[in-house]
């Protein structure tokens, strides 16, 4: 029987009630009395000299309050980058300025040039259109290979040849890796593209800047995954507002997927405008604007080589990757193709030698940063594709070749050759589970059935690992992070019962308001309904680092456990006093304190009341009150892993690919709420199938975005996707956090693209079409063309 509350229970989500009744409080639902409206004028060309921005006529139009241009920010900082990478030669990466509003040059379509503040959106829009621009268009550079060819336009003077960095990892293993290829029995080489994507959370970004003149306090309401990080970056590095005069509130946020991690120009502009004009201002992004102002994802070009011995054992891997940074460095962009990518190249395998070379490149396109998975999908895709190709070349079954190379279950902790050390895992176990839940045994019969319908059926698998719970501050500091990556939590027990948990994690769909109380409920032995979660407001909780990289339960949950443990420790001392016993003899179980070997007991509620009404209380040794804060900094990443299987049906005549089935067997460590974990995996797989079959962000040669709306960018719809079989019963608990949890938010998006493409290639091969590889998305035209080319 499943539990009905606490850790492991499928508790229904309490936040659903407001979302289902239209009572959510998203940023665009907030209106501040007297607010004005901001509209941005953005560059319509990808690259050009910005010779003139004449606002005179526009400023005189009805309703216009003020127009800001790049000159207003001349003395103010630009947007900071939060991660510094060093090149192979030891030099720091090229880090060109990222202005809030463009000055002198525009570098991508959508680069903001001016911001109009007016009484209404319509007036602001009309005025923005009346601003006179003189932009001398320059040749744009879009393709990464062109960008570093020596013959391309320069995006930034500070980055010669458009190179941001040239990173090698692990540099000490480079020669040994090259040598291993010399003598290898077999080498498989694959060149592939990890297609550029647009995150497209359903809620577009919104900012409201407010300023309280008497107190000098600025408030920013924003659609953010990490309001404390925005307060730090914007306050300290852009606007020079100390944290005690700046409050950032991210209320209900309608999805993030990475795109709402970063500090954006619009946030700085709205905060600055409110303070300058002493009036609240609101900016609501529409979808067309989101396509040219949200950071985008992926966009890697990779050549991967795998060296194998005669038995199919992996000897070495080397890769060369070009990673698109776009026109400016978004907040965490440099980390994605490096430390979130190279460190995952061991996958679930014992490959002893790995060397990755990554060149990050500036182009006249939107900035690129983390999107669900962030570097780990790119690593998994190339690895799981090249393994499949190698298996086919060597005549080894794709499951068997993986099994021959899995890190054995008794090898933990396992030190990979790419810096990270896996604490625990069982990859044979998840593969066994997958073989069972995906019914591999029945595949040949299903293939025959598809054939009878005139379709080619393929089966593709993938074994993935990810590094989540990002991560130990000391380690990420060594790797170039300019931030700590702890998490915080304050647990406040109220006098008359009830607990408020203030977490630095942020929920934008993950269901923290439900899962976090499940943990505290279990620990304190009180009903979940007695526990309330507060998040998303720098004015109401301790400094926290927010939600991304599947870190909330692994890091934020751990901080919550630590704070709750402090509560229990203090409450035990209070209880001991009330029961006239030594605290060492007091036990706490199911909400009741008792003295071992006696019938003395006192409940948690009485202890809480006593803490605030300390009439009979050990005041000489213990402070009154029952409120504790913990900051938790993990000692390692967590390593969720699993195996995925996709079956597709391909129509040879049209190239149309349909997902026939999809199964996932994951090891997420311990599970807090299985219903929510299932939902996270479903969503990740949906996005992964989207990347593999549908989604593609495309620029033309002049840098115009050709896929700039939902009419042109193929978002997965209900009739594109199947029902998923999801299993997370394989559990190897994380050994270094108190809940034994690993995180589940990104797995689906990491493991599914290679499974889909492996399935498509398998289907084509089964029909006698000698197709080795297809780049994503495997759209009908590409599949059809691949079939024709193989003839």
């Amino acid at each position: 029987m499943p539990k009905d509350s606490g850790i492991g229970a499928p508790s229904k989500r309490r936040e659903d009630v407001r979302f289902l009744t239209g009572a959510g409080n998203y940023t665009d639902d907030i209106n501040v009395a007297g607010q004005k409206y901001v509209v941005f004028l953005r560059s319509s060309v990808a690259h050009g000299n910005l010779n003139k921005v004449d606002t005179a006529a526009a400023a005189a139009m009805p309703g216009v309050v003020h127009i800001f241009t790049g000159d207003d920010f001349a003395e103010i900082g630009g947007l900071p980058c939060g991660w510094q990478i060093h090149s192979r030669d030891g030099e720091p990466m090229a880090e060109p300025p990222h202005p809030v509003l463009a000055r002198g040059k525009v570098r991508h379509v959508g680069d903001p040039i001016a911001a109009v503040v007016a009484d209404s959106v319509e007036q602001a829009r009309d005025a923005a259109e009346a601003i006179e621009l003189d932009i001398e268009e320059l040749p744009a550079v879009v393709d990464m290979t062109d960008a570093i060819s020596g013959n391309a336009a320069q995006v930034h003077e500070e980055a010669p040849n458009n190179l941001c960095y040239d990173w090698g990892f692990v540099e000490e293993n480079r020669d040994a890796t090259m040598e291993a290829f010399e003598g290898a029995h077999h080498v498989t080489t694959l060149e592939l593209i990890n297609n550029r994507l647009v995150a497209n959370p359903m809620e577009p970004r919104v900012c409201i800047g407010d300023f309280n003149a008497p107190s000098g306090e600025s408030t920013l309401y924003t659609t953010s995954q990490n309001p404390h990080v925005i307060r730090l970056l914007m306050g300290a590095f852009v606007l020079g507002i100390p944290e005690h005069k700046l409050r950032v509130i991210a209320p209900d946020v309608g999805g993030g997927f990475g795109a709402k991690i970063y500090h954006y120009a619009e946030e700085a502009l709205c905060t600055f405008a409110a303070k300058t004009l002493k009036m609240p201002v609101k900016w609501t992004c529409d979808r067309s604007e989101a396509f040219i102002s949200d950071a985008q994802g992926r966009d890697h070009k990779t050549k991967i080589e795998l060296a194998l011995d005669a038995d199919g054992k992996f000897l070495a891997i080397r890769t060369e990757t070009l990673a698109n940074m776009g026109a400016y460095l978004s907040t965490f962009a440099p980390a994605v193709p490096t430390w979130l990518h190279g460190t995952l190249m061991a996958g679930t395998y014992t490959t002893p030698l790995i060397y990755c070379n990554v060149k990050a490149v500036f182009t006249n396109t939107l900035p690129v940063d983390a999107y669900r998975g962030a570097g780990r999908p790119e690593a998994t895709y190339q690895l799981e594709r090249v393994i499949d190709v190698a298996a086919r070349e060597m005549g080894i079954d794709p499951v068997e070749i993986r099994r021959r190379n899995f890190i054995p279950a008794d090898a933990y902790p396992y030190q990979t050759p790419v810096a990270v050390a896996y604490d625990t895992g069982d990859y044979h176990g998840t593969m066994d589970k997958l073989v069972e839940v995906a019914d591999f045994a029945g595949f040949s019969a299903r293939r025959e059935a598809s054939k009878a319908k005139g379709k080619l059926r393929g089966l593709g698998i993938c074994s993935y690992i990810e590094a989540c719970g990002i991560a130990p501050s000391a380690l990420v500091g060594q790797l170039g992070a300019r931030a700590g990556l702890f998490e915080s939590c304050t647990v406040r027990v109220n006098a008359a019962g009830g607990v408020v948990v203030m977490t630095g994690s942020h929920s934008h769909g993950q269901g923290h308001e439900t899962t976090f109380p499940q943990v505290v409920s279990e620990m304190l032995g009180m009903p979940e309904e007695m526990i309330e979660i507060v998040h998303g407001d720098t004015g109401r909780g301790p400094m926290g680092m927010g939600t991304y990289g599947s870190r909330s339960i692994a890091v934020g949950g751990a901080a919550m456990v630590r704070a709750t443990e402090k509560i229990i420790a203090k409450a035990t001392r209070i209880a001991a006093h009330l029961m006239e016993a030594s605290h060492e003899d007091v036990e706490f179980k199911d909400g009741m304190f008792s003295v071992a070997g006696t019938d003395k007991q006192v409940d948690f509620g009485s202890v809480a009341l006593s803490a605030y009404v300390p009439h009979n209380y050990p005041l000489e040794t213990l402070e009154p009150g029952l409120e504790e804060t913990a900051f938790y900094d993990p000692s390692n990443f967590t390593y969720p892993a699993g195996a995925y299987a996709c079956e597709v049906e391909v129509d040879e005549d049209t190239g149309v690919v349909e997902i026939a089935s999809f199964a996932a067997a994951d090891d997420f460590g311990n599970i807090i709420n299985p219903m929510i974990v299932d939902g996270q995996v479903h969503g990740g797989i949906g996005q992964g199938i989207g990347q593999a079959l549908l989604e593609n962000c495309v620029y033309d040669e002049s840098g115009q975005l050709a896929s700039g709306s939902f009419m042109d960018y193929a978002m997965p719809r209900a009739d594109d996707l199947p029902m998923y079989t999801v299993d997370h019963s394989s559990i190897t608990p994380c050994t270094h956090n108190p809940l034994g949890v690993k995180g589940c938010g990104e797995a689906g998006a990491i493991g599914s693209p290679p499974a889909v493409i492996n399935a498509v290639v398998d289907a084509l091969q089964s029909g006698g079409h000698n197709v080795t590889h297809l780049d994503m998305p495997a759209s009908p035209d590409r599949v059809w063309a691949a079939i024709q080319a193989a003839k």
Partner: protein, 158 residues
């Protein structure tokens, strides 16, 4: 400016709007019914779906003036009279049919329209009817399950 009058969730409302004011703007900005959301500007995402005279409509694709005299139902009108969740809403909660909640009002209103027309839709029919509603969180699995559960509950309740 023209005045429009309509019935929204059973209440008579009226207001002065510009000719270009969209129904969704009238609902959100004039009536403070912010449960209806705007997720795109090309009529693709369906976050703004409401019911107008018995048909589900994308309220970003309709002028407020065009809804003059209409009977409009929004997500705020979907709960039971006692304030408890209606059958479809309850099915979404029971089946984890929502995550960030932003597309949810449009999903519920579209499901309401589907089940009014086809009380026992197949999985394929549900997926096809959701063609105009985008969700980025759920991969649709639990949305389909929610609508199936609502269908079963409504059929059982008859």
């Amino acid at each position: 400016m023209p005045t429009v009058s309509m019935t929204v969730n059973g209440k008579s409302v009226s207001g002065e709007v510009e000719g270009r004011t969209l129904l969704v703007q009238f609902l959100r900005d004039h009536l403070s019914l912010t449960g209806t959301h705007v997720g795109c500007d090309t009529g693709q995402c369906g976050a703004c779906v409401v019911n107008v005279n018995g048909d589900s409509m994308k309220s970003c694709n309709m002028l407020a003036a065009s809804a003059d005299g209409a009977e409009v139902k929004t997500i705020e009108g979907m709960a039971n009279d006692d304030g408890s969740l209606g059958v479809i809403q309850q099915a979404f909660q029971d089946n984890h049919g929502l995550q960030c909640g932003f597309c949810t009002p449009g999903m519920v209103m579209t499901a309401d329209d589907l089940l009014a027309r086809n009380p026992n839709p197949s999985e394929v029919e549900i997926r096809e009817y959701l063609e105009g509603n985008l969700c980025r969180c759920t991969g649709y699995h639990n949305i389909v399950k929610s609508i199936q559960a609502a269908s079963a509950a409504m059929t059982a309740g008859e």
